[in-house]
């Protein structure tokens, strides 16, 4: 197992360097000069322009800028945002817990509903229940997030008044947030009703962000289960008189999980992309919106630093998924 982990970790290094280069190049390939964008309609004299480029380091050759960026990254310094003037690292970590909390809840929601739905659909293949579930999943997968979010807000917050419209907690709760995870901080604050308020605020964004992964997981689970249910060892188990619950729950599901876990790992990218819209609509202070704003403002340090951190996260998740394969299917780690 150790060799397996080490070999996986080694592939990390070239990927990391590649991502560093791509994240650096990506924002510079886009047309548009950050200093001109900053000046806007008001414009700027040539001298002032030269002064600012020198101050921000953009007058130097590209390779020199990249070298400085790379050495900074290796020392844990991603530079300062030139809009807020604060370190990219600080900004990222003040926003990331919100995205992580929302993404985790969305993933739990998607798995908690998606896995059983897929299994039930597979077991009832071709019957009404299967068709209804899979049609619903297709609708969920195809639905524009923006529209879905506004629809839920209008119905549940506007008309029924069951959930708050947006934000992370009722504004009248105010307490320090050492972890940045509202659920944890609200419990730690000891304020009555804070946790309930935080949970109510989480509900709609979780559903919106979890909808697409839920649909994907349900469909993937169903097809993986169908494949496994046709295997010889399942027929053998049936022939031995094993109960359907044990067959489906233990023998079939465990083997069907491998492709499902791959899908869950890959969904992390989808979740982060979905987070951009979900965070904007629900005024959720996470990294999705932060990145989009920075691209529009041509805030080079934030875009390159943020992309790098997100890429590293996706890499870590995929590494974890690889490890999980090893646990679920010992054959893989011996290959």
């Amino acid at each position: 197992m150790l060799n397996y982990v080490l070999s996986r970790l080694l592939t990390f290094i070239p990927t990391f360097l590649g991502v560093t280069l791509i994240s650096f190049a990506f924002i510079r390939v886009l047309p548009g000069d950050p200093i001109m964008v900053m000046a806007g309609e008001r414009g700027m004299s040539d001298e002032r322009y030269a002064e600012l480029s020198a101050q921000l380091g953009y007058d130097r050759p590209m390779y020199a800028q990249f070298w400085e960026y790379l050495t900074g990254v290796l020392q844990g310094d991603l530079g300062n945002s030139f809009v807020t003037k604060r370190p990219v690292w600080d900004e990222f970590f003040s926003l990331f817990p919100a995205t992580l909390e929302l993404s985790l809840c969305a993933m739990i929601f998607a798995m908690a509903l998606g896995l059983p739905a897929g299994v039930i659909a597979a077991v009832n293949r071709g019957k009404f229940f299967d068709r209804a579930l899979m049609s619903t999943a297709l609708v969920g997968y195809s639905m524009p997030i923006f529209w879905w979010a506004l629809l839920l807000i209008i119905v549940f917050s506007g008309n029924l008044g069951w959930t708050p419209v947006s934000g992370r907690i009722d504004l009248l709760y105010y307490f320090p947030d050492p972890t940045g995870f509202m659920l944890i901080d609200s419990i730690a604050s000891g304020q009555k009703g804070a946790l309930v308020s935080a949970l109510r605020h989480l509900l709609l964004p979780t559903i919106v962000l979890g909808t697409i992964p839920l649909a994907v997981i349900a469909r993937q689970t169903r097809s993986a289960m169908l494949e496994v249910l046709g295997e010889d060892y399942i027929r053998t188990a049936r022939a031995k008189g094993m109960s359907p619950g044990r067959i489906n729950g233990i023998h079939a599901l465990r083997n069907a999980l491998i492709p499902v876990i791959t899908v869950i790992g890959l969904s992390v990218g989808t979740l982060l992309a979905g987070a951009i819209l979900t965070e904007t609509i629900f005024s959720w202070p996470g990294i999705g919106k932060w990145m989009v704003d920075s691209i529009f403002r041509r805030d080079y340090p934030v875009v390159q630093g943020g992309l790098l951190l997100i890429a590293v996260m996706v890499m870590v998740v995929n590494l974890t998924v690889d490890m999980l394969y090893g646990i679920i299917n010992p054959k893989i780690r011996k290959r």
Binding site: D33, V37, S166
Partner: protein, 530 residues
């Protein structure tokens, strides 16, 4: 008030009720996050709403709801005969806020005024480079060239010596970048090795004290109980950052916020019809225009430009592009600005007459490029659509239009070129409410090849604006600006298109809100009825 006290107040507020609609706290759904809290470092209105308006004061202040100035931290000022020096008499007994790292030991005085400007203009000042300071507004208002020196006569008298007479200097002193910060706090933070705290945990003299900011989520302020002017009506002010306009509206309806900015134009009618929603409106301090290149034939001929202006169906543009949230512009300055020329008669929309006029000038088979901005601005919410409507209008008089666009930075840069091919859609939002800030900046001879996108240099116009700039009183300046507007209309370097209409949406229990023509959202005077 110490940090613990503030926390205690906040917790008390929290226990007052579960809904945001407490009489003690006003919740404003703002459209975005501030870049920081030191207004001199930034240029966006969103940042000013969160920093300079609640937290700070300036030597002069704009009277809320007007573009006129009134005394602020300076009780009075005196401009010398030659206009080269301005002496400010400062207000006494003004207290700075405190926070858990700083408690002021003295009142506001001349040292704070000198520090607030010196850090922006003097590269030797220890704060000049702090927080990546680029001091954009200070530069773009030409302060480095204008201010020769700032001297302290005594603790409560400061003299600004200028390099030339300039009447708008008082209005400049009321602008956000001229907010007065505490020198004592800045020194203390420099000593503690955390100078960036001046930007992150601001200390000012304003009606609200800064309490906390959770990035992209919430900003909290408490009433400044020691405020020198009229105290704020609410105990706490909360900005709930809500980027999506539809969601902001839902929050107002649900009672989660009291006031919201920038509604979707498409929602305005429904808001006006709703019983429990109040909508206020005012023309914004801006203008959207189409600037011809007056240096290139045949657009160097004023009659050709006027003919083209007559072909444009401005009402159609207001209906389609602004969805009603705009007003036809006939002058280059907005109607809320002093010296606005009421008597101007706008070019009549008359394609037949326009066609005849072009023929009379011997112009036929004209091809024109229209540049469409790639971004949304209040003065032009959809430049592409506007360009398409103009394309349609111009085709009716036989002018063939090609629409071009560039990335925003490129667009701004390329449109400055004196040999530019085509007419540019652009606009301007005023900074200090002074007509000079529109007429000289956008149409002066010095601005050709820069912000004068029409590349239009009319000596008579230029002389009038230059003369008006150095006269001491508004009454003397206004007639000159009115004459300048008449010349502008006669020469038509632009087609003036529209001024946006700014809407503010609020709950009926909000009282005392005034829409500010300079675009800021100010809450000192706003209260909530039970």
């Amino acid at each position: 008030m110490s940090f613990k006290h503030k926390l205690a107040t906040a917790i008390t507020l929290a226990t007052l009720g579960a809904s945001a609609a407490s009489a003690q706290s006003l919740v404003y759904c703002s459209e975005g996050s501030p870049e920081g809290f030191d207004p001199a470092l930034y240029t966006s209105g969103t940042t000013f709403d969160a920093s300079s308006h609640p937290i700070y004061n300036r030597l002069a202040e704009f009277k809320v709801g007007t573009t006129e100035t009134q005394p602020g931290l300076a009780e009075s000022w005196d401009v010398s005969e030659d206009g080269m020096t301005v002496t400010f008499k400062l207000r006494q007994g003004v207290k700075f806020h405190s926070n858990d790292q700083f408690t002021p030991t003295r009142d506001f005085n001349a040292d704070d005024v000198i520090f607030s400007f010196d850090r922006q203009g003097n590269t030797e000042n220890a704060y000049n480079q702090v927080s990546g300071g680029t001091w954009e507004y200070y530069s773009s208002m030409s302060m480095p060239d204008l201010i020769k020196s700032i001297e302290k006569v005594d603790d409560y008298t400061v003299v600004f010596s200028l390099t030339r007479p300039e009447a708008p200097i008082i209005a400049n002193m009321a602008m956000d970048f001229a907010s007065i910060v505490s020198k004592e706090y800045a020194d203390a933070m420099m000593e503690a090795g955390t100078p960036e705290m001046v930007n992150q945990a601001p200390i000012g003299t304003g009606p609200f004290t800064f309490q906390a900011y959770q990035k992209d989520a919430v900003i909290r302020y408490l009433r400044n109980e020691d405020y020198w002017g009229d105290k704020a009506k609410v105990e706490a002010l909360i900005f709930a950052i809500t980027p999506d306009a539809s969601v902001r509206y839902q929050k107002v309806q649900a009672g989660e916020c009291h006031v919201m900015a920038y509604p979707n134009p498409a929602d305005v009618q429904a808001m006006k019809d709703a019983e429990d929603i109040t909508v206020m409106e005012q023309e914004g301090l801006n203008v959207g225009y189409l600037a011809y290149n007056t240096k290139v034939a045949p657009y160097d001929n004023a009659n050709v430009r006027k003919a083209l202006n007559m072909a444009i169906d401005k009402q159609g543009i207001i209906d389609v592009v602004f969805q009603g949230s705009g007003e036809i512009a006939k002058n280059p300055i907005p109607p809320t600005m002093w010296s606005y020329r009421e008597g101007t008669v706008d070019d009549k929309h008359d394609p037949e007459a326009a066609k005849a006029m072009l023929e009379a000038e011997g112009v036929s088979d004209l091809k024109l490029k229209i540049w469409a901005m790639p971004v949304q601005r209040p003065y032009n919410p959809n430049a592409r659509r506007m360009a398409e409507l103009m394309q349609e209008d111009f085709s009716k008089i036989g002018v063939e239009v090609e629409i071009v666009s560039y990335e925003w930075g490129e667009y701004l840069e390329r449109s400055k070129a004196e040999d530019r091919d085509g007419a540019v859609l652009l606009g301007w939002t005023g900074d200090n409410g002074d007509p000079d800030n529109f007429l000289a900046v956008l149409l002066g001879c010095d601005a050709v090849g820069g912000s004068n996108r029409a590349q239009w240099c009319n000596e008579e116009f230029d002389e009038l604006t230059k003369k008006a700039k150095v006269l001491p009183t508004q009454a003397e300046r206004a007639p000159l600006y009115e004459q300048a507007q008449a010349i502008f209309k006669d020469q038509a370097p632009w087609a003036t298109i529209a001024h946006s209409v700014v809407y503010m949406t609020m709950r009926p229990e909000v009282e005392g809100y005034v829409v500010h023509p300079l675009g800021g959202h100010i809450f000192n005077q706003v209260g909530i009825t039970q």
